[in-house]
Symmetry: C2
Subunit: 397 residues, 2 copies
């Protein structure tokens, strides 16, 4: 069986407002972060399935005959993809020799790949192919790198299996799938996320699939119809932290000082809602400097609130100060306690200021990228539309 | 007429929690700041009334005959001291040649002195005396220096006039007045404050009179029955600011983002109430480290809230960071936007840490004092109970 080659990409995710508050029933705004994961799927005639993940030094191949043995006997094409196929997961874990529950990044990535591959092709003939992935996203930084990977896998393998079409026309650089196909990509990406995270919220794969921005409230995910593209800096302080510990810290503080903390959560909720309103206005009316002033004020307010919740960190204070010295406003994004922060750039912020700020932040030992939020979700690419260095990596394997 | 000599002192004031929020109907906690103003009243036979205010380079004398002419004809001893005697104020302003409404610090200080002096002695014979004042408080820093001065004036002149007794016994170092006398001191101090500030809240003179701590809510001032004495550092960043501008800034922000800011004010209110509860517990139960932990957390939370209100300043951020580097917690006190901050010291914080912190803050160009909050209000002193350098200044004139 010969499948179609394709190149796809999916973005990362950042929380614009509402991290932590979302755990306590408040609105969060999750946005597409235009640091992307690229995946190239190539049909081969080697009788093997190969995966190359140079970001995590993982290069693996399996004979098709080997993989065939993993398919459960009772296997048929599944329509319901809300739950994992427990038998297939068990067989895959046995295959990798990880029965104790602890999967490392490499195991999780390959397991979710093979899970989707076998689920989609299992009932019929397994195709010989090679998948190569390169990501601009740092892993384990709360930026949805695993979801971007799962979305790419789902899109490419669904196309390869013929379940959805490849949308790219001969003359296109990039192309998107229709709503119905995106739903399918998102469902299968969520399966990948379940393998990697156990109990994912579904926000990361939704952002990776649809891009733009979405409102997350009490487990419900609502993509916003239109949002402006905002230039940002993404900074990784590289201070390691545990999301679990930070979430518990906020909970403890709420229990300790309910009369003080409850209004803070309400205020964060209002920040998210005000931000959503302003962003929506920016797509329906001419964008003014005042729109950006408000976005900056909201960023500052929320950063102070996150400090009240106890999830700040001196490295994040440094980020805020360094950028403010250049007139730019920053907040942590995600769990806090270190990790990443975002800095809003105004349309008129010139590249001299941006480059200077990046240099200042790198001088503090931080990683820093100029990118954008609110951009496109999963896309198919022509090779010409991919940055040369990334294409080189994808083609190398 | 020969009056009794006396030395009195009154403390400054700091806002522990609730600055700005109090303008919007929330609780504020005002505390006695043990940087004190000392006043020495000495009977003389020169036929003159002299005032020496070396802090502001003011040294003035008037002939009793000159002052007599200022007393309104219809003048009698007034029992009702809630309002200023408009005729006396007019005559005093004429006497100083300030009819346009703008009084400088020196004019305000002498005018309020002569107002209280003439009000208390006017109906009878004017005594010849010299008043010398020295203050440890920086002026114009929101620390109630004018109220401490007015309280001292009221206490010393009320004693000199015989309206209240001098409480100091031969064997005492310091002594306090009874509740009824304090009420009278406070009333007359409020008159002085009205001359200096136009429309004072009455909080500063109440703290200067009663000391300790008081709860201020919707114009009502309630002294707390018992509060612990807390060691603090008081830091003056010396960044000039206008209280009026800062109050207006907060108001604008509330109008701009009501849904975001209203809960912040509620949270500040809860901070004040929680603090009051903890402080009250510290006087009724054994003081534990956890009490101090909570006081520190409340300081941090409120400082973040004040930043949300837009009344922070980089100099105040520096104060917080420098002290946190030594494990100490700080917040702005008063209007913010520069001005002063307080840093809580724990009972076990040793003098090596304190001295190092003071040095660090002075290296940033700040003034810094080790003092306490929650201490005594207005007091009479024996000369022996006054620090030598201050006594020397008071005796010099």
């Amino acid at each position: 069986m010969q499948v179609k080659d394709c190149i796809v990409s999916a973005p990362g995710k950042a929380i614009l407002h509402g991290e932590h508050a979302v755990v306590h029933g408040k609105v969060a705004l999750a946005v597409c972060l235009n640091l992307r994961t690229y995946l190239r799927l190539k049909a081969t005639t080697t009788g093997k399935v190969c995966i190359n993940l140079p970001n995590i030094d993982t290069f693996l191949c399996w004979d098709l005959s080997e993989l065939k043995r993993l398919i459960p006997y009772s296997y048929g094409k599944r329509e319901e993809v809300k739950l994992l196929d427990a038998e297939l997961v068990r067989r895959l874990r046995d295959f990798f020799g990880v029965t104790n529950g602890n999967l490392d990044t490499c195991n999780m990535a390959t397991l979710s790949f093979l899970y989707i591959y076998l689920s989609l092709f299992g009932p019929g003939e397994l195709p010989s192919l090679t998948v190569s992935v390169w990501s601009e996203l740092p892993t384990g930084a709360g930026l949805g790198s695993s979801a971007a990977y799962s979305v790419c896998l789902a899109a490419a393998l669904l196309c390869a299996s013929g379940a959805i079409p490849t949308p790219l026309k001969e003359w296109d650089h990039t192309a998107k799938w229709c709503q119905e196909d995106l739903e399918q990509i998102n469902s299968w990406a969520f399966q990948g996320e379940m393998i990697i995270h156990g109990n994912p919220s579904g926000v990361d794969n939704a952002v990776g699939t649809w891009g733009g921005m979405l409102r997350f409230l009490a487990g419900k995910i609502i993509p916003l119809s239109r949002v402006p593209l905002l230039r940002i800096l993404l900074t990784n302080t590289k201070v390691p932290r545990s999301t679990k510990v930070l979430v518990a810290r906020v909970k403890d503080k709420i229990n300790k000082f309910p009369s003080i903390m409850t209004p803070v959560l309400d205020s964060v909720d209002a920040v998210s809602c005000t931000c959503e309103k302003v962003l929506s206005e920016m797509t329906s009316k001419p964008i003014t400097g005042e729109h950006y002033n408000i976005l900056e004020e909201l960023i500052d307010i929320n950063q102070h609130h996150l400090n009240v919740m106890g999830v700040g960190h001196p490295a994040l204070d440094t980020l805020c100060q360094v950028t403010l010295a250049r007139g730019l406003h920053s907040k942590l994004t995600g769990a806090g306690g270190g990790g990443c922060g975002i800095t809003l750039l105004r349309p008129e912020t010139d590249s001299f200021v941006v480059q200077g700020t990046i240099q200042d932040l790198q001088d503090r030992g931080f990683d820093c990228w100029e990118t954008s939020i609110g951009g496109p979700g999963v896309q198919q690419h022509s090779p010409l539309s991919i940055k040369e260095d990334i294409l080189e990596i994808l083609n190398h394997y």
